[in-house]
Symmetry: C2
Subunit: 254 residues, 2 copies
DNA sequence: ACTGTGATTATGTATATACATATCAGAAAG
DNA sequence: CTTTCTGATATGTATATACATAATCACAGT
């Protein structure tokens, strides 16, 4: 390598003072990948080449490349180098908002109403709703609630809480505030599963939402676990035109 | 700290030879957080304390903690320490499958059918469908397709492709294979947005799917960008009972 | 031609060190 | 009593170095 390297050392190319060097290297490479300049299968420069290009140590380059590998944009093979992976895992990030936030984002006043609250021994159906996991036996709390946007019903909430996982819920009366936000502050959930589907409203739900029976609805069901143990199952039913779920994907690792 | 530290130095506690030290530290801490042992707000040990506990250098501890911070499980504040964050961003990962894979997962034979293919200058409606971005002007390809599971229609696909972004699509005839998989191999998409909602089937769609008009359907719309430029918009319409979207969340960083 | 074997190479992990930076506590000054 | 300054502290980033590990290549021997 010629001695023209000296000028690179004193100023790392198009330096941006706000971000760190490894972040800049990471962004540079990511940009070249997502722009298509480096297509899937392309062998990106070796660590020692980038070391020379940016005039920094191998550790700095390694930190950038390791993160890119972890985020799935590149694949690293010993002795061979690092390669651009094809965008394979079409995964998107789905943001689950609080219903109050959702309603207020529409500029409408939010109101919550408890329709029914039952404490009972877990039935087989209850156990199935809560999902697989140990110690599901015992008491559960079943709740039916209604969320309003202005004067109109916004969504029906049908929730089951495992009192084995959340004993504090037994003494709670969810008259004023919804169980969702309370639970989040209560239990450190470690896993969640969402199922989103469409269905025709059954008679009762339709009545609650002020719809004709059979009207299309969006149903979001969520199961939550805390340390492998089922915590809660909740089903939100929205009128078809009231709500949509948005999910985004960007290969960001910043 | 007493001098009993010596034994920790020689063998890093419950050593697992398969994983690296920083991974083990990361896992240890993550486990304590998701198990609830360290609740939100808890100040986790300082780097120099973990350094002593694991008998390793600060860089190793730092690598573990930095990753936990990046994955959002902890928050790091200079001079104050690192703190367990409350599980705030209820984000879930939504896996977008190929329709062929979905159908075959049901154990049914997959069949694809092209209903219509039109090439035209982009209208205002087309530009809105493709979403914001530069150089949307120009020609677009509009496709209507039907995906079958066995003998029954599984879903209707209504797609718009920007020929400015994918000029190769102009010469393609999507008679045998669906445009989705072809596009993935063609364009390195860098961002995607999904909107999932429920709606009543309109007359044409209902007919295609063999449903009564007004039957509830699940609609998934996806917009894709490649380097800020709109590539395609696609709307999949499924009969309510045929399909559901599943999204999972786990605070995994392995 | 085939096969093993060792050298080479790029990455993976870890260390000690250094300095920058944000922030907080308490001291000094007004 | 408030403001300002200063030092202490924990994290953030970067470096040079070292050795481990996996994969590949070249070469020697059967």
């Amino acid at each position: 390598m010629p001695d023209s390297m000296a000028e690179m050392v004193e100023e790392p190319v198009g330096g941006d003072a706000s971000t760190s060097l490894y972040q800049r290297i990471l962004n540079d490479i990511r940009d070249r990948i997502v722009s298509g300049e480096w297509e899937p299968g392309y062998r990106i420069p070796f660590e020692h080449e980038l070391t020379a290009e940016y005039g920094c140590s191998r550790m700095t380059v390694n930190k950038a490349l390791s993160q890119l590998a972890k985020s799935g944009l590149i694949e690293r093979r010993r002795r061979s180098g690092s390669f651009v992976r094809r965008p394979q895992s079409q995964a998107a990030v789905l943001e689950i908002h609080d219903i109050r936030i959702e309603v207020e984002a529409l500029g409408l006043p939010y109101r919550y109403e408890l329709m029914a609250q039952t404490k009972r021994r877990a039935t087989t159906v209850d156990r199935e709703r809560l999902g697989p996991g140990p110690s599901v036996a015992g008491q559960v709390l079943a709740l039916q609630c209604l969320h309003y946007a202005g004067v109109r019903p916004f969504c029906v909430e049908d929730r089951l809480i495992s009192l084995a996982a959340v004993p504090e819920a037994a003494d709670q009366e969810f008259l004023k505030s919804a169980p969702g936000p309370w639970l989040i502050g209560q239990v450190p959930w470690s896993a969640a599963e969402h199922v989103i589907r469409a269905a025709a409203a059954d008679g009762e739900t339709a009545a609650d939402l002020g719809l004709a029976s059979g009207a299309p609805c969006l149903i979001i069901e969520r199961r939550t676990w805390s340390a492998e143990r089922p915590v809660t199952h909740v089903r939100f039913t929205y009128p078809a035109n009231a709500h949509a779920v948005v999910a985004r994907f960007t290969p960001s690792d910043s």
